[in-house]
């Protein structure tokens, strides 16, 4: 008995239709991005926004090269957290990487929140930092959501992708904001949490291109 005889005509019709759709998808030849290409895309969006905004801050005098250099440990830890989170979000074998992402995030958040109090604190309102961080994070958030369409829904994956996008505002805060630990904890880390939450909420409602893990 051949396989064709084992299925009913209606099932055979369904299988032929599904196979035709899949073969059409193969023949359209749409490029399939590998995970490391997606990683470069997400990190490129994050760092691209940071570099452009940093250039703007330096040119307008809102940040100084010395001030940026003084915050290198914080910037380094945030960059590390962004890389680890992006890997955790996009690596096909995400389980082990999730723990590393949480560790990197906690380490970065502690290093940023516990930075030395500035000698002369700026007087700008806290919400301006929140708004600017959300604005700066909008492009990486859009990129993260676009990439998440290619994966099965996963709260953990969306959370670390959102955290990676959220490092954009946090890095800009390290360069352009001269306020104390309480301000950082509330407004900078708050913006980070909001961005990660938005990505989780929006990602759960995305129309998927693929449900592969």
């Amino acid at each position: 008995m051949t396989p064709d005889q084992l299925v009913s005509p209606s099932t055979r019709e369904l299988l032929d239709r599904v196979r035709a759709a899949a073969r059409h998808e193969i023949r359209t030849g749409k490029p399939i991005a590998r995970w490391h290409t997606q990683l470069v895309t997400l990190l490129g969006a994050t760092l691209g926004v940071v570099l452009i905004a940093a250039a703007g801050l330096l040119l307008t005098g809102q940040a100084t090269p010395a001030g940026v250099l003084a915050h290198l440990p914080q910037l380094g830890s945030l960059l590390g957290a962004a890389v680890v989170c992006a890997v955790a979000a996009l690596w096909p074998r995400v389980r082990g990487a999730g723990f590393m992402a949480v560790t990197a995030l906690l380490a970065a958040a502690c290093i940023v929140a516990l930075r030395a109090e500035p000698a002369i604190a700026s007087e700008s309102a806290g919400w301006t930092c929140l708004v600017s961080h959300l604005g700066a994070g909008s492009i990486p958030v859009a990129v993260a959501l676009w990439l998440l369409r290619s994966f099965a829904p996963s709260t953990g994956r969306a959370l670390v992708a959102g955290a990676a996008a959220g490092t954009t505002g946090a890095m800009l805060g390290e360069m352009g904001c001269q306020q104390g630990a309480m301000h950082i904890a509330i407004w900078h880390l708050g913006a980070w949490v909001i961005i990660a939450t938005v990505v989780v909420l929006v990602a759960s409602r995305l129309k998927r291109r693929s449900y592969a893990p």
């Binding site: 369904l14 299988l15 239709r17 599904v18 759709a21 998808e25």
Partner: protein, 171 residues
């Protein structure tokens, strides 16, 4: 699968012929609606085509396909209003399966009461495994958990049922 990943289109046909019927059966058992199952079969294989580069060499193909199908079915059941009816159909179907598996009304009532004492996850795992005959890999794919976690859920469910029912029923 590896030939398909490297661009051999004929390898897709072989993959499809080997697994499509099983994947369709798996989806049908999750959603209990033939139209939804047909749509989800297409979604599953389009997902396979679009994510073929994420298949890990050395991994088993069938669990990967079932995981994709389970992900698509769960997402549909969460969001699609059309699928809401099938959730109720699933519940009714499980009750019918219980009637077939345990025709004695007294024993069935005893079991129903004992099953009600399990957590929803344990109850689902026990019913799918014992009553509906699903494999642990199928339960894992449908629930979005690892096969080990599915085994543990069912095992804990059986343990609890043994405690409740004692020697009255052989599980």
């Amino acid at each position: 699968m590896l030939r398909f990943c490297s661009g051999d289109e004929s390898a897709f046909d072989a993959l499809f012929e080997r697994h499509a019927v099983a994947v369709h059966g798996f989806i049908s058992r999750i959603v209990r609606d033939s139209d939804l199952a047909n749509d989800l079969l297409q979604v599953t294989f389009l997902s396979v085509v679009r994510a073929r580069n994420r298949f890990q060499p050395g991994a088993l193909v069938k669990p990967w396909l079932f995981t994709i199908a389970g992900n698509a079915a769960r997402d549909l059941l969460r969001h699609d209003k059309r699928a809401m009816g099938s959730v109720e159909e699933r519940r009714q179907s499980r009750e019918r399966s219980l009637e077939v598996a345990f025709p004695d009304p007294g024993l069935r009532r005893l079991l129903s009461n004992a099953l009600a004492a399990l957590s929803a996850d344990q109850r689902e795992a026990v019913l799918l495994h014992k009553v509906e005959g699903w494999s642990f890999s199928e339960i894992a794919a449908a629930a979005g958990i690892t096969e080990t976690a599915a085994r543990i859920r069912a095992h804990r469910g059986y343990e609890k049922l043994r405690q409740i029912l004692g020697p009255q029923v052989e599980m």
